[in-house]
Symmetry: C2
Subunit: 507 residues, 2 copies
């Protein structure tokens, strides 16, 4: 049975390998003194000893010179499994995990996304599910439950021990993308009247529970209000008979439990802190958000913005593993909406059909002119959306942005206009392409470009402000959205300019 | 003098306030028990005590109940200054800093970008420059020197104390965006044969130098090779007579000094570690990268990708503070290049001028069709670029991407084709817009849409692979770049389809 499953997986891996025609150079990271990759190893071992405890295993330290056992010749390496991971079904992944040593398998399990964890657990025999769920820290378990299908949630909660279940249920009350949903409710607590020696003993006891023991210990009063913070470094460095209240810093940056994760991420970037305590409306401390979780948040927010900026809904799952029909649905919505908007170009073109009929030469420049407006709008919107996400731009800055972009648009439009005019003059000189009124045609194209690029720049930079003011995500002002908006307007600018300049000659 | 400067700054602030017509709701963060915002406060106090030491100030702890002095009525608050910051000149910023208490001013100084730090220092009287430069940790000082104009670098280096200068010079040998440029060369070191008690005493002594004392202590042999790592938590929890070599973990993830920061960031995201040691080619430990620096890296990489995706060069400085002419230059390059590429549309249109002349109705749909190709290409390229940046997609995955995008493109093209055909049939029924051959026109538009959208999707998804294969940044496959590529090809697809379907009737 086991051999058979292994064979199945092997064939799966071969299939994946068969596809690789191009090879990426080896990543510039190395696993020093370790045969096996150990994702999230240190963190689990150090910060969350509860995982090991719950698994019924012993201490986490490892004597020097105890080298990991060499893999058997036919054994699956974790790196192989990780490489093939995206291409495997949940069943194949479950089979793959069984072939690894338990601790290596757990490391892999802890490092994948909550959605993948759910799929994996659902693919396991019921008797084996609990031991995997129990290995998770409260905040990770909460993510798992949140990702699970509704009918499966109660069973997942039932697998947890009582304390963790209570904590997970408290966490589930918070939105996943709020500070309360990011925090770990287990953190190192001290009382202000403890001596340093008492504090160290007390912390030593707390490490036996799975507290998020990163860098700071938090000093709380009897009603859980945050009085101050003291770092482990300060505790190590201080004399043993000093009071915690003398050591602690009292001006602590905190974040509300219902603060958006983007706000939390910005605070981390501004302050360079390793951890920020989360408080409720009564300033009672509820948990702690650590900077390592913020790396993921910053990365996810950027992924969302980039995908929206490209003109689709945010996928919400990795590109390679999202089901094709789900991906198509996420992309079709905006694409169809933009198509409907873009139909106005056909209407606008129809409105100017008479002009085109009389001077087909005008039609030749339609794609050139409207795409230039779209390109400049795309530049402007992506710059503004990113500056907003970074907190560099706020709503009240809209007028300063207008002034900047008006200047930039005029300059960029003039550059393109000059290039366009030169091109028309050159072609005219060499091929006599544009007939006797080539100078007027060139003038029409050049001044249209200035107008269209300036409009595109302004539209691209202001649309994110407008969306945000109306309560939408500014990143929805995608490059294609702006381009569509500018296409229709660009046609009107172009043909109106043409009417003004060419009336009596070509038109 | 001081009053005058204050007045000047005040007027500057009023001017900035005058611009704010729209107001952002107050951010959901609060500074608990602190009147003044203290950016990077904890980190400097805890992780880099050397800053305080170098400033000649005393201990960093603060007794409970010592509340910060209330600001004088006319005093400038740090929040006010921070809000107005982007709008102020370097001179005004220097004036503003002088109005703050020294430690608050330092916190603000430490939290701004190296480029802003340089400008600020250059705006200060020469006699005051050194005390600010000396406050920086070695890695921050290296960033500062790197950002400074060449002729100013030696003077900056001369302001540092001997040890820091040597460290900064060593750091300057690394590229800013490599692991060696990110790392702090001061970290907590232990020897394997120390007892836990000896280790704690030794660490206590090291905290008096400004070591990056976050969470781990690194165990090195006599030639600085990394043997293992031990966390402060483990040291606190362990019996005093145990050896460090028994406690330490020996399978440590490390990163090469010349690894790209994107690789380092990915390793942090995969492992959830708080710090990763940096080693040279001989596996000697050179420094440590901490996760709080990675938040900035992840954010910067995303900024770069988003700005490139929008079709401009990466700005490299905040949107509001970059000089307008520098921003225009960063945007004009790509815009002009794309414009030159887009000129091929005029050539292509000229090639089909005869067809347009005979059937002007064809021209009406040109913007609709080519923009649909551009939009679908923009979706595909942004999805693929992001998946590449996250490490989800590697070069060898190109064929799987082709298969996915071919399916997605056909599906999306069919959806748009159906909408387009419906639109033509509706308009024909109500307005008789398209004459007797409306069905053939509809068929031309629908099948062109399928072809153009499929091509756009494939081009958008493969261009990043191609660029990466050739050694360029895949993010240069911007939405406008792909749109331009697809515009030209889309015209050819459209008119070729039209020739095939309409020959003998309209053409």
């Amino acid at each position: 049975m086991r051999g058979e499953a292994h064979g199945l997986l092997r064939r799966g891996l071969e299939g994946v390998r068969g596809l690789s025609a191009l090879q990426l150079p080896a990543a510039q990271t190395s696993s020093h003194r370790g045969v096996q990759a150990r994702p999230r190893r240190e963190r689990q071992a150090d910060a969350r000893p509860g995982r090991e405890r719950l698994q019924g295993r012993g201490g986490v330290s490892r004597g020097q010179g105890v080298t990991p056992a060499a893999p058997e010749p036919e054994a699956l390496s974790p790196d192989e499994l990780r490489d093939a991971w995206p291409a495997l079904s949940a069943e194949e992944r479950a089979e793959g995990l069984k072939l690894l040593p338990r601790d290596t398998a757990e490391d892999l399990f802890f490092s994948i996304s909550p959605r993948e964890q759910v799929e994996l657990i659902l693919a396991l025999p019921q008797a084996e599910q609990r031991s995997w769920v129990r290995g998770l820290a409260p905040d990770d378990a909460a993510d798992l439950v949140q990702e699970a299908p509704t009918e499966f949630r109660d069973r997942l909660l039932g697998m947890l021990d009582d304390q963790t279940r209570r904590e997970v249920q408290a966490l589930l009350a918070y939105r996943e993308d709020h500070a309360g949903g990011l925090m770990n409710p287990r953190f190192a607590r001290l009382r202000p009247d403890m001596t340093v020696d008492e504090a160290v003993t007390y912390l030593r006891r707390q490490t036996r529970q799975s507290v998020e023991m990163t860098y700071y210990a938090y000093v709380l009063d009897s009603s859980q209000r945050l009085l101050g913070v003291v770092s482990f470094r300060e505790l190590i460095a201080a004399r043993g008979d000093r009071r915690v209240s003398e050591l602690m810093k009292t001006d602590v940056r905190t974040v509300d439990a219902d603060a958006d994760q983007e706000v939390v991420a910005r605070l981390f970037r501004e302050t360079g802190l390793m951890a920020i305590p989360v408080v409720d409306a009564e300033k009672r401390m509820k948990g702690v958000v650590t900077v390592d979780d913020i790396v993921e948040v910053v990365s996810e927010e950027a992924t969302e913005d980039i995908q929206k900026l490209g003109g689709s809904e945010s996928l919400g799952e990795p590109y390679l593993t999202i089901a094709l029909n789900r991906m198509i649905r996420k992309r079709a919505g905006w694409l169809a909406a933009l198509f409907l908007g873009e139909m106005l170009t056909a209407t606008a073109m129809g409105y100017f059909e008479h002009e085109i009929d009389r001077a087909v030469v005008l039609a030749l420049f339609v794609p050139l002119i409207i795409s230039s407006g779209g390109n400049s709008g795309s530049q402007a919107t992506s710059l503004v959306i990113r500056a907003m996400a970074l907190g560099e731009l706020r709503l009240r800055d809209w007028f300063r942005v207008i002034r900047r972009e008006f200047g930039a648009g005029l300059a960029l439009g003039s550059i393109l206009g000059a290039i366009g005019l030169t091109r028309i003059l050159l072609w005219q000189a060499f091929f006599n392409t544009y007939g006797e009124h080539y100078l007027l045609v060139g003038l029409t194209v050049a001044s249209s470009l200035i107008g269209v690029v300036t409009f595109g720049t302004l539209a691209g930079s202001l649309l994110p402000f407008l969306l945000r003011r109306l309560g939408f995500d500014p990143a929805s002002a995608s490059a294609p959205f702006v381009a569509t908006l500018v296409d229709v307007t660009g046609l009107i600018i172009y043909f109106t300019t043409a009417s003004a300049i060419l009336r009596g000659t070509l038109l």
